[in-house]
């Protein structure tokens, strides 16, 4: 016990990297690890595609129009997220909840469109182990990567909903809004990853 207490006392009160909060550093370290997961998935995609002889042209199989709109939605939801953070920095709790609500709405719409896209592609004959347009790994990597990203969006929607709910109860103010900023970091990261997924899986 005393040892634990001593260790606690030795812990510096603020982190040299993110003086505002330890939580922010924690989120950055988590995101760096998460980026490695996405990075290896995308690198694996590149390797499978590079070594495949019958990889289909993605734009010929996947709908670019719908996913372009999904990209647009996520970019918009990133803007509403920063607007929400800006609002609470001014102490405007009402606007914080409004902008967080819009951000969550963007995420939910994104997920709805992804569900529609997946349903459509599965009916057309794309599966985890089957692809009528060529290499089966195209289906495997497509569902793995977009699914892993979709799970992140789902997590973000739940995460931001909780922050919005807390915000509506007055949990955040002009002087105390670290949790909003940290949640925002996660949401922007999910947007950033989608930008890369859209380019490498859909357009390239």
């Amino acid at each position: 016990m005393s040892q634990a207490a001593a260790a606690h006392a030795a812990e510096p009160a603020e982190t040299p990297l993110t003086p505002e909060s330890w939580g922010k550093l924690g989120m950055w370290v988590f995101l760096a690890g998460d980026a490695m997961s996405f990075g290896t998935l995308l690198a694996g995609y590149a390797i499978m595609r590079g070594t495949s002889k019958n990889w289909p042209v993605p734009a010929g199989v996947l709908g670019i129009g719908l996913t372009a709109f999904m990209t647009f939605l996520l970019i918009c939801s990133s803007v509403t997220m920063v607007k929400g953070l800006d609002a609470i920095k001014r102490g405007d709790q009402k606007s914080l909840v409004k902008f967080l609500g819009l951000t969550v709405l963007g995420g939910v719409l994104f997920l709805g469109m992804q569900a529609y896209e997946w349903t459509h592609l599965i009916h057309e004959g794309l599966g985890l182990t089957q692809n009528k347009w060529g290499a089966a790994q195209f289906g495997t990597t497509f569902f793995l990567i977009t699914g892993f990203h979709g799970m992140h969006v789902t997590g973000g929607v739940i995460y931001l909903s909780i922050i919005a709910w807390q915000g509506s109860k007055g949990a955040y103010s002009a002087h105390s809004h670290n949790a909003v900023e940290i949640a925002g970091l996660y949401w922007h990261f999910v947007d950033l990853v989608w930008i890369l997924v859209f380019t490498f899986v859909y357009l390239l």
Binding site: A32, A35, G39, A43, A59, A68, H188, F189, I195, L204
Partner: protein
């Protein structure tokens, strides 16, 4: 909206840049561009634009531009790893 923050970011300007780059990306990635448009050029253009967009999100929405430089190093590590993984497997292509 001119409030006294330590960071002054015109978020709408970032939004328009992201939108413009997305439109250019779709134009560059469109499959019916014809054989005169080399695949390598298409790949190069798309990667440059995607990395630019990702950097804009990280620098301005995630405020990395206003953080300590060492935090940027943490953010860069996955990118280095990813490039390394692809380069390591290139001989198998």
């Amino acid at each position: 909206m001119a409030h006294s923050h330590s960071q002054h970011v015109n978020y709408m300007a970032i939004f328009w840049w992201l939108l413009l780059l997305t439109i250019l990306e779709i134009a560059a990635g469109y499959p019916s561009a014809g054989p005169s448009y080399p695949h390598l050029l298409k790949g190069f253009l798309l990667v440059v634009m995607a990395v630019t967009k990702a950097a804009l999100v990280a620098m301005y929405f995630m405020h990395l531009r206003f953080e300590k430089v060492a935090l940027g190093y943490i953010a860069m590590i996955p990118l280095i790893l990813c490039v390394f993984v692809v380069l390591m497997t290139l001989p198998d292509f």
